[in-house]
Symmetry: C2
Subunit: 529 residues, 2 copies
């Protein structure tokens, strides 16, 4: 860190203007592929920046409420097109800051997904079904979800595009609901986020949205972050990242009665029955190794915990995974912080008694990376200290826990915290399936069968959520349009309000001809009456 | 309070058995119509009771998950019928404990409403649309809401039937979602709640639900209450009552990541434009006085704050209300505690500078009652200390705030906290409507036009909710089937799960022939494919 006043920092975007930050200090991101700081200084903003952003966002929120939803949809589409046009620079910048492969990961998977999310959000905003309009025509009572004010978005380190605070899932959902966004960049890819915000402002100007519809700061002190999510002017917060930082923000937001949607850590248990291993163990080894080492294991849904019942097939599985883990070159981790944290977590598990089957050594010297780690513990060990054995080792690491029998395996599942996902690999008519699924389902947001959890399809039926502490509330999903949108909305009921005074979604005529509304108990695209 | 061991207390209902409480002390309710304690001792339970209830509820929750929803619906219907059959005793008991009139209030309004809610919840449980099943047939991803475990329900003092913790709205919603309920009786009507629980257990036995589907305790120490809502075995909590107790429970539940749905205080602003007063001021006086004095003003949606612009018509309105308030015999308040609290709140407003137009004197000697209170303040005063002037005076009291002009009135609205409701009385094409409604809508869960807020219809389009601190989250409603139900549920996604392993709501065939599901983007009652 340098003395603030002597640094020429990258500007923040506040109230439609790129300007110097109200600076308390500065920071640099690291190129993890070379373990070298990137020579661009970014500001740690003081409260004055946050305060001005909240003030400008409040004005923008009121203006946005008066605009037609089609205008918001247009913004999302223009923005998506600008991102597409600037893809090469975005990919280059994100690669430098995260070490994620340019192709296929960044250019061919994550950027198209990001653009698709923005377009789906645009379509949802234009069509309005996301707002769940409900009409009781006899009682003259009508309700729908409406924007709730400025949304603060904290993006994670592991998806510089698809969960970027200025372009990703929470951003798209908050905007589609009709709210302005204050993006807090992830400190590991500030320049990528800056590039997005440049394009967002262009799209705002082209479409004619309020200037403060999208604002950007890079970092604040912890106290200012907590003050921001609890500020009376903040409508809600979306946060994806580490549990400790997330829970500190949650405590602040909760105390002020502000909604906060969190996506925190998850070990994503994968249960493989003995019948499944006997039937197709080799294939499952390949699927598992592919899932856990893809992107150096840096996914929220990375399978960090495998549960097996003791058997020869289990030993074969464990050995085959060990060989593949040992043979495969470890991927580059997102940052020195991730590299350190992975080392610490593996140590915690080893100290608790997990056997290190492969990996666990020193970090590589020339880039952010650690040997692929495959660890083993007995269910007895796990059950003696379930909290420690659920330590998330974010990165290319996984722990296999071997139970004596299915009953003990179910006991391990019952000792699990809430998770985003849980997988069961089993055979057809497998008698072990039912007790396992029965114990696992209440613990997870998404139950998968015979499939690894790392793919998170952008589907209306997706749930990228789950019981605490995977998230802050078990009823919401961060992925999936339109369900992700209504998190950033308040329910408003209009009682005895005459037709011309109703919002567009609640008038008698179907607002688009194709908007789904529940009218007198029936979901329909018809008009009222 | 008496020494616990010497008291023969009413039993608690735990794990299907009426048994003596693990007692820390005892309490009695008061007959507010005569200001006399009722000679029935009820226990304040220690942690051992709560612990056993949570343990039994956990077992019941797992059993309920395996039962067909029709069974749960049947329970709700049988229970509704038993309540109907026992109506006379329930009305007598509730009248003694609350002072609410037997007729029409208890017998002809609240009990039928309670029975109706249970039946609507039964229909919703049987039909399943409440769970919002979403099916993406191409991706083989399907999701719906599912029960989340034992629900603790804390009922309020003011609706001994319709919001009773063992029979009211939260109870019906939690059971319809498939969860067992641990009811915490309101201390002002424990015997009414005990009567309900007796009938609930009969219904449980008749239908064959798990014994611990409904359990009852009457009271705990504050610490044990907080420990209960934060316990790992608790799925969620529904609370209706005072802000201070509610926020203490919220802090405990939030820290443990447990959903808690609160319905707290609300002053329910009523804005009346000068045009409306000029047009039909006399009629509005009648509507307002009826609304605020009905049930001695003890409604969550009681209009406790009237906003007017200075004019001769405003003076006429204020005087007419004063005369009616002074002339009408004050209703009986629910308890000595409500009577004391109302006195305190009126004092707070008077001390802040509100002029006492009528009322404000001593409590009546022979029953729980206070003179109807009508207070006045200028908008300048309000704006100088908006927090104090929003003190909720729960009971037969209301404050009128007079603004210099519409701009200042809008300023008062902008200084309001979140409320359950907001009303605007205006004329057709009233130019004042738009600025008022624009400022008021973001502050309230329900915007009414030309109608007082005290009626809360049980409609699918109802929102009995609102921004903090009226509730804990602006996206949920406590009244209205089916929307109230999914609060007590977790979203679960089934990814690549074969048809026979899917829950009933997500299989290809429509589960009832009439269940609304979103299949591939369309809401339909069709089968998949």
């Amino acid at each position: 860190m340098s003395i603030a006043s002597t640094i020429a920092c990258q500007p923040v975007l506040i109230a439609g203007r790129w300007r110097d930050a109200n600076l308390v200090e500065s920071f640099r991101a690291t190129d993890p592929s070379h373990n070298q700081p990137i020579e661009l200084d970014f500001p740690v903003s003081g409260w004055a920046d946050v305060d001005e952003a909240l003030r400008a966002a409040t004005v923008a929120a009121a203006e946005l409420r008066s605009l037609p939803a089609a205008k918001i949809a247009e913004f999302l589409e223009v923005y998506a097109d600008l991102i597409q046009a600037d893809a090469a620079e975005l990919v280059e910048t994100a690669h430098r800051e995260t070490g994620l492969p340019k192709s296929p990961r960044l250019a061919d998977v994550e950027l198209p997904r990001t653009i698709n999310q923005l377009k789906l959000a645009a379509a949802a905003a234009r069509e309005g079904s996301w707002a769940m309009p409900v009409i009781d025509s006899a009682a003259s009572i009508r309700s729908c979800y409406e924007p709730l004010g400025p949304v603060c978005v904290f993006g994670p380190n592991n998806f510089p595009f698809a969960f970027n605070s200025a372009a990703g899932g929470d951003f798209a959902a908050a905007i589609a609901a009709g709210n302005p966004v204050i993006a807090k960049a992830n400190s590991s890819h500030p320049d990528t986020t800056r590039c997005f915000a440049v394009l967002a402002l262009q799209a705002i100007e082209r479409v004619g949205l309020p200037a403060a519809t999208v604002q950007l700061i890079y970092r604040t002190g912890h106290q200012d972050g907590e003050r921001m999510v609890a500020d009376p002017r903040c409508g809600a917060t979306g946060y994806t990242g580490s549990r400790s930082a997330g829970l500190a923000l949650k405590a602040a937001a909760d105390a002020a009665g502000k909604p906060i949607y969190l996506e925190l850590s998850s070990v994503n248990p994968v249960v493989i029955t003995t019948s499944a291993l006997n039937q197709r163990g080799g294939q499952i080894v390949d699927e598992f190794v592919g899932s856990v080492l893809m992107g150096a294991g840096q996914f929220c849904t990375n399978p960090g915990l495998v549960l097996l019942v003791r058997s020869p097939a289990a030993e074969t599985f464990i050995n085959a995974v060990r060989e593949k883990f040992a043979a495969q070159t470890p991927g580059t981790l997102l940052s020195p912080a991730v590299c350190r944290s992975l080392g610490r977590s593996v140590h915690v598990l080893a100290d608790a008694g997990a056997e290190m089957l492969t990996g666990g050594g020193e970090a590589l010297p020339d880039r952010c990376a650690r040997p692929n780690a495959w660890m083993r513990a007995a269910a007895d060990q796990f059950l003696a200290d379930p909290e420690v054995f659920q330590t998330e080792a974010f990165g290319n690491a996984s722990l296999v826990v071997v139970a004596d029998d299915v009953d003990q395996l179910v006991g391990v599942i019952e000792a699990l915290e809430g998770n985003l996902t849980g997988c069961v690999y089993s055979a057809t008519d497998d008698p072990d399936y039912e007790p396992i699924a029965k114990a696992l389902t209440p613990k997870v947001g998404r139950l998968l069968n015979d499939k690894m959890p790392t793919g998170v399809a952008v589907s209306p039926a997706m749930n990228h959520g789950g019981p605490y502490p995977a998230t802050g509330h078990p009823g919401f999903t961060a992925v999936g349009i339109p369900a992700a949108i209504f998190r950033f909305a308040k329910l408003t009921c209009y009682d005895n309000v005459s037709e011309p005074r109703l919002p567009w979604l609640l008038r008698n005529a179907n607002p688009t001809g194709g908007t789904w509304r529940q009218i007198d108990g029936r979901w329909t695209t018809d008009n009222v009456g």
